[in-house]
Amino acid sequence: MKKISHGLIKSSLIGLTLVQALSSQAYFDKQQYLSEDTLLMTGQTKKSLQTDDIQDKKSRASIVRILDNVMATINKSAEIYGPIYRHDTRNSENYGDEIVKIILKSAHAKAKRYLDEGNPQAYYAFLALSLTVPNQEGLFVHFREVDSDRDYCNDERSTGENIKSSKAKDQFQAALNGEGGKKLFGIFNRNKESEGFLVKCKDLRGEKKYRQLIVGGSDGSDVGMFQLSALWHFDEFLNKGKYDSVKQTVDYGLNYLRQQFHHGYRNAATKYTCFLDENQNIDYFKLIRGSWSAYNGGPSQKCRFADKEGPYAGHDNGFKKNLDITLNLNDGGFFGFASDSTLDLSPAVRAAVEEVVTNLEKKTNSASALQSLLDS
């Protein structure tokens, strides 16, 4: 009898979970978090904001508001490795420099072969791609620290209650909190709840600061600065705990990105003619865009960016906006998510990123500042 009742309850619980998961249409798109004003700011009016325009109080907080919706809170006892984003002191702490160094060193290791092969433009294209994707995916944030203010960590935020999209909310809760599961399965929970890398707010009572990890994605299980899916990138990333390190996350993310770039680069003449210009040469800006289309949609989607009417054109247009931010670096443009939340770079690091863009655009290979950064 006991066995039968266990079986019945087990199957009904599993069924309920399945129905819940299948009927939920949670779709977590970072673009949905950007208000019209913010979109306008990042894409079109950045030049005017580069001057001494008065900062709009609401826009200054935009990155913070966005991050607040996508951060999960880290166990106070957990070890984390790498720079931590603190919004108000991000520049005094040289956060931008630290992030750029990690990204460029990792990207260089993966793209150096193109220099050896005598194609510096491919090399700089990959470096420019590497400077864009972490902005596109994670706003250049992996870990964040905030004051232990209830606005940053309360039950509603921890469970994704403020996420605008109901689909995104449902998926966030299922992946990170198990709240629904706890109510249904609680009667079977005879094991003591163990602490893990992420915890709920109540587990941080008394703490002065919260450390957080960026978690988002359409199903609530995309982790870190490169938004790596727990379903697709589980074995070699999540299961190995690489999310506790900025460097390991960047390495893994750029490795996956490089696979898409390299496959597109090698097969441009045969399989991906969308990367060729009218003279049958590789258009490296198209290769950059296609590499991200594949990163986002899968390897078969390399030419997705060229379909302006396609269902994912919005995704690719969003990426292009962030690519434009990168390409504007050697024209006085800002580095960071938006002009109201720039990441200052030291002169040496700024010179290095400008070299990347200039070399890409002008097909040159002058890299003294970049070499200094790589040697540091």
Partner: protein, 304 residues
């Protein structure tokens, strides 16, 4: 389209739930601790992701595998991502493990190319065959068998042709595990010739990985066979395939005539402007090969 797919998936999954309920009733190994371990709540990110990945992995595998394969401890250990390949056989009866691995291999090898029922993500359509549950499961399965070929009696149920086919899989780890099993099954000498022949059909990085793995078995007796294969691919393969091989074999020591033999078939790429970047790369790797071998690239035979 997506709506129709979702509806039929809902129906299918409802049926699936009812079937699972019946399995749960009949499962004699179910214990209260087992229910607890399946449903206990752990706020750890990894534990939650384990649970979600396990659930999703089970969903896909239970579509692909026969019912009898999914009711055992061997199956539960297999889908538990917390159990490493080194730990897999611990506390399992070898007979049960062998039966499960054999049944699963036979099922998955037939459907892995199509994903064994796994669909693209609904929101962004993401799908990568290399990262699919089917290929990752096959990789895991073959990593287990590579560690225990005799214990699991591989010779009596794993076919060489099946492993050769997997040398062309998108997942690099799966290709590597297939290679290791091939060598275990056939021995290095026989495996060398069979893999060499298969390489002529492989593309891109798969071809490069297969030949790179064989470098440890190359000797003066079989090197010419390797060169012959490379030369054939140079004449007939895509530039991506040629480069997939050259990138990995540039340290191979060759003679003057052998490098001439390899380069002869590459002239055709020089005629296409769209291949200019690949031609430059071929030139670089061939020069590296020549330098490593202490020879010069003869101008009249080297048209890159």
């Amino acid at each position: 389209m997506l709506g129709k797919k979702k509806n039929s998936f809902l129906v299918a999954s409802t049926v699936f739930v009812l079937v699972m309920g019946a399995v749960a009733l009949l499962d004699n190994e179910t214990s209260s601790e087992q229910i607890d371990s399946e449903h206990s709540i752990d706020h750890s990110l990894v534990a939650n992701a384990h649970k979600e990945a396990n659930t999703y992995r089970k969903k896909i595998l239970e579509k692909a595998l026969p019912k009898k394969a999914t009711g055992s401890a061997a199956y539960r250990n297999f889908v538990d991502s917390a159990v490493t390949t080194d730990q897999y056989l611990e506390e399992l009866r070898i007979g049960q493990a062998k039966e499960f691995l054999k049944t699963s291999f036979k099922s998955l090898k037939d459907c892995y190319r199509e994903g064994c029922g796994q669909l693209p993500d609904e929101d962004d359509g993401f799908y990568d065959p290399a990262l699919s549950i089917a290929q990752q499961s096959l990789k895991r399965l073959l990593e287990i068998t590579a560690r225990h070929p005799k214990k699991l009696d591989l010779r009596n149920w794993m076919e060489e042709s099946e492993l050769l086919d997997l040398l062309g899989a998108e997942n690099q780890g799966l290709r590597q595990a297939a290679f290791e099993n091939l060598v275990n099954l056939k021995g290095t000498k026989e495996a060398f010739q069979d893999i060499l022949e298969k390489t002529r059909e492989l593309q891109g990085e798969a071809a490069g990985d297969a030949l790179k793995n064989m470098l440890t078995f190359v000797n003066e007796d079989n090197k010419q066979d390797l060169i012959d294969s490379m030369a054939l691919i140079s004449k007939e393969g895509s530039s991506a395939t040629v480069l997939g091989i050259l990138e990995n074999l540039s340290e191979l020591k060759v003679s003057q005539s052998q490098i001439n033999q390899i380069t002869e078939g590459l002239c055709r790429f020089k005629e296409k402007k769209s291949e200019s970047h690949n031609v430059a790369a071929m030139s670089y790797y061939l020069k590296s090969m020549a330098a490593n071998s202490g020879i010069e690239l003869e101008a009249q035979n080297y048209c890159l």
